[in-house]
């Protein structure tokens, strides 16, 4: 067989596989959107869910998902930023840092159910945090940390060494060079990573079922005192998220319009994740252009 023909066959096969993947994806997303979109309304998005009667919404679940996401990022971003900076700029190449890197690899490949059960045993039971937003946020942090750390480390590593030398040769301290030169340049990549991880966290269910719990307690959306037990901001209340809600309706939902609620909620989830992905691209590109554009001010 001549090489030209081989080349042609290989390319055709690769193309076919790629097209297949795209078709499957388009079919899935299209189906979820087609089934779910008709059920989405302002009422659906804002009103509380109902367990036994039709006409419930997903308001609290949507809020819980967003609130949990925010808390997770607040906890995991500073930690992974510190770890990422340390690993890329300061860590010596020795046994200890190799072990740290391996630990991060292993952590990132843990199934999320395992993370959830671990969180259940340690935080919910051992530390007596109960089914709560806080337990959920910590579990999600475990789930999120390795990927975010890797992303930040890689973004920082991708900044050219020339920039480090320029800073140091100008008499800047190492910390200042990292802080003022390297981090701003790595920012577009870091932001993209954060938003993408936000999408993954938003859609996560398995890690939350046994940590943040499966019930959406009645919260009073006019009470914003985080220490009050009926406040939506309360960290110690159980909080069913959108993804967990979908899982629950499908496994044990008994409301008459369960299929419709599930379809609508799935569509909302998919749209949110799509928005996160688009936002990641947009923000990353925007920041990059801003950093390198003709006008800086």
């Amino acid at each position: 067989m001549n090489t030209k023909l081989q080349n042609k066959i290989a390319i055709t096969i690769i193309k076919a596989i790629a097209i297949m993947v795209v078709i499957i994806l388009a079919f899935l997303i299209g189906r979820i959107l087609l089934q779910g979109l008709p059920h989405i309304s302002w009422h659906f998005l804002t009103s509380p869910s109902r367990a036994f009667t039709a006409g419930g919404g997903i308001g609290p679940q949507l809020f819980n998902s967003l609130y949990l996401l925010l808390l997770t990022l607040i906890i995991s971003f500073p930690i992974s930023l510190g770890a990422g900076i340390y690993l890329s700029e300061y860590a010596p190449k020795n046994g200890i840092t190799t072990v740290i890197r391996m630990a991060i690899e292993v952590l990132s490949s843990l199934p999320s159910v395992v993370v959830g059960l671990f969180g259940f045993l340690l935080f919910v039971v051992q530390f007596k945090l109960g089914y709560s937003i806080l337990s959920g946020a910590i579990a999600l942090t475990f789930f999120n940390l390795p990927l975010l750390t890797r992303n930040i480390e890689e973004s920082i590593n991708s900044v050219s060494n020339l920039q480090r030398e320029a800073g140091l040769a100008l008499g800047m301290s190492k910390w200042r060079t990292v802080n003022k030169i390297i981090l701003p340049e790595a920012l577009p990549g870091i932001v993209t990573g954060i938003v993408l991880s936000a999408g993954r966290v938003f859609g996560e269910a398995a890690a939350l079922i046994y940590t943040a719990g499966q019930s959406a307690t009645n919260v009073n959306f006019s009470n914003w005192n985080p220490f009050s037990s009926t406040s939506p901001l309360n960290l110690m209340r159980p909080a069913e998220t959108l993804a967990v809600h979908i899982w629950k309706i499908n496994s044990e939902g008994i409301m008459p319009d369960a299929t419709a609620v599930s379809a609508g909620a799935s569509a909302v989830l998919i749209i949110a994740v799509l928005v996160f992905n688009l936002m990641a691209r947009f923000l990353g590109n925007y920041l990059y252009k801003k950093m390198t554009s003709a006008e800086t001010k």
């Binding site: 320029a166 140091l168 008499g171 301290s173 950093m291 390198t292 554009s293 003709a294 006008e295 800086t296």
Partner: protein, 251 residues
């Protein structure tokens, strides 16, 4: 000659590899001094000892004595930050920060705590003029330095170094990534700067070395073979190796 920079018995090891094997080399105050030699002979390594950039590399061992104006570069009391303000460096690839031209040039000054806008403005204009790039950028100082051509970027990088008023400027093949016109601009600029600064330049371009430098040092395999006035080195070198290298027999 009254020596401004003196280095004695310099050995440098990258791990177990000896990259400098006992170099003794001095530079007088002011003027342009060229370091030449085949690729891998240790020119950059030697140059980077003078502002301690080699400290950044893991597993480097440096021995010998290095003095600038009598002060020990590797002394226990030497502050690398202060040292690098005194000994500026320009690299082979232009490496402006991803900020505006103005910010690039004032960065080192702001670092030393200078905030007076008028003084900053003055220094920017003066440094960019010295670096022969003022006329090209004076109307868009707020433009990102990354939007400039490679040759302009390199001159802005030189201005960035000049702005902090160093005594010594190290240049590691500063024109090898540039077009001939930009290279000529930089060569002419170095010729005017040499009245005020001690300039040490690594170059692979023999014409460049002979055109702009006052003294030339020839390195080979981590050793200094010969150092002398540039005319002398190019017209009648004392060592056979130098002669072979200059006549293109190796390297």
């Amino acid at each position: 000659m009254n020596e401004f920079i003196t280095t004695r018995d310099v050995h440098l090891y990258y791990g177990s590899k000896e990259a400098l094997r006992g170099v003794n080399l001095d530079f007088p105050d002011k003027g342009v001094h060229a370091l030449i030699g085949p690729s891998g002979c240790g020119k950059s390594t030697y140059l980077r000892c003078l502002n301690r950039m080699n400290d950044l590399i893991e597993n480097v061992k440096i021995t010998g004595s290095f003095k600038i104006n009598g002060e020990d570069i590797y002394g226990p009391k030497t502050d690398t930050v202060e040292l690098r303000k005194k000994v500026g460096m320009v690299f082979q690839q232009p490496n402006p920060f991803p900020f505006s031209i103005y910010e690039n040039v004032t960065y080192g000054l702001k670092l030393s705590g200078i905030k007076d806008k008028q003084l900053l403005d003055e220094r920017v204009e003066m440094s960019l003029k010295q670096a022969a790039v003022w006329d090209e950028v004076k109307d868009d100082l707020n433009k990102s330095a990354l939007a400039l051509s490679g040759g302009q970027q390199q001159r802005v990088c030189i201005a960035r170094v000049l702005a902090v008023r160093p005594q010594v400027i190290l240049l590691d093949e500063p024109t090898s990534a540039l077009d001939p016109v930009s290279s000529n601009l930089i060569e002419d600029m170095l010729l005017t700067l040499k009245e005020q600064y001690t300039i040490i330049i690594v170059t692979h371009n023999m014409q460049q070395a002979s055109r702009i430098s006052d003294t030339t040092s020839f390195f080979l395999n981590g050793e200094l073979i010969e150092t002398n006035e540039t005319k002398h080195i190019f017209l009648n070198p004392e060592k056979q190796e130098t002669n072979d290298y200059l006549s293109g027999r190796f390297g």
